[in-house]
């Protein structure tokens, strides 16, 4: 498949057109004829084919004036993206519960449940260590339900994506990166103030959010590269 400026612009037009099939075909027919006619004319004036196509695309103008995404569809897609990110966040919390469980088993309960820099917890070491596992796993199960809801919604939708390519992945990367930074700082602070006691509480979270950050970064980069 050739990647010429006109073909790329028509691809973008198709991606951003949210209309019935006939309107979309008509729009693409007209845009294609217009762009090729304009490029041929520019070429006759002495431009190379590549330059002529780029000039034709420039004069045609941006895609948005031609089509506008239906507001309702945009709201639905935004909600779907929110479901995906919420589900991933809760699932990450759930996985961190298993990490906390491993830490409890490997390093003793005080590593996770020891005296914490977090002011909200007042329970015993055992209670905190157990809560870090159980409550997080419950949150993870809720996250799985949210993700199932997201998948069901996505399966029912046949319309092309409205949000810019890579946006949701980039938001996920930012959210998980912020989480990683916060948890890493908390773990460091905990270690400085209390030694190993309680370090596992934030560290178990950071160990999950870090790979999630990398995963979303890779997805965002791939989406941006694919969209040209």
């Amino acid at each position: 498949m050739s990647h010429t400026p006109i073909e790329d612009h028509l691809d973008e037009l198709l991606r951003r057109t949210h209309a019935d099939a006939r309107t979309t075909r008509r729009l693409l027919d007209e845009a294609s004829d217009h762009l090729h006619t304009a490029a041929t004319e520019q070429q006759a004036r002495g431009m190379s084919r590549q330059e002529a196509e780029m000039e034709a695309v420039r004069q045609f103008g941006p895609v948005p004036p031609i089509t506008r995404a239906p507001v309702l569809a945009l709201v639905v897609e935004t909600l779907r993206a929110a479901l995906l990110l919420t589900g991933c966040g809760l699932a990450a919390v759930g996985i961190s519960g298993f990490v906390a469980l491993l830490m409890n088993l490997s390093f003793g309960r005080s590593f996770v449940g020891g005296v914490s820099v977090f002011p909200v917890r007042g329970g015993s070491v055992d209670e905190t260590a157990a809560d870090a596992v159980v409550l997080r796993i419950i949150a993870g199960l809720v996250g799985l339900l949210v993700l199932l809801g997201y998948l069901a919604l996505r399966r029912r939708s046949s319309s092309p994506p409205l949000l810019p390519a890579g946006l949701v992945d980039a938001l996920g990367a930012v959210a998980f990166a912020a989480g990683t930074a916060g948890l890493a700082i908390a773990a460091t602070d905990q270690a400085v103030q209390n030694g190993a006691s309680g370090v596992g509480f934030p560290l178990s979270g950071a160990l999950v959010t870090l790979p999630a950050t990398v995963y979303f970064c890779l997805r965002a980069t791939r989406a941006l590269l694919a969209s040209g």
């Binding site: 008509r26 027919d29 004829d33 090729h36 103008g61 004036p65 031609i66």
Partner: protein, 103 residues
């Protein structure tokens, strides 16, 4: 696009098409040529306007094959001719009023 500018674009398109049928690129070329380059619109913007005019029954379109591509040609309907005459009269009245004020 404001209602005013939308009406202006409609009037310009009707004005070009009253001289004879034309396809989208031809309309843009005619607009540019007859305005001495003054109306240098983002070319893609005329298609939604043409579709709107067609939906309103003011223009009609037909498809033929040119240089191996499907090409849609637009022409004014009788209703389009009438609408053009009305809009041109309104426009001329507006311009005359403006002139009277700023002269």
């Amino acid at each position: 696009m404001t209602a005013g500018s939308k009406n202006s674009v409609d009037l310009l398109l009707l004005g070009v098409l009253r001289r004879g049928p034309a396809h989208g690129y031809g309309i843009i070329a005619a607009l540019r040529e007859r305005s001495d380059g003054e109306f240098d619109l983002a070319e893609g913007t005329i298609y939604p306007a043409l579709h709107r005019l067609e939906k309103a029954g003011l223009v009609e379109s037909s498809v033929d094959i040119a240089q191996g591509r499907r090409r849609r040609t637009y022409a004014l309907t009788p209703g389009g001719h009438k609408e053009f005459a009305t809009q041109r009269r309104d426009w001329n009245g507006f311009v005359a009023s403006m002139q009277a004020v700023i002269a």
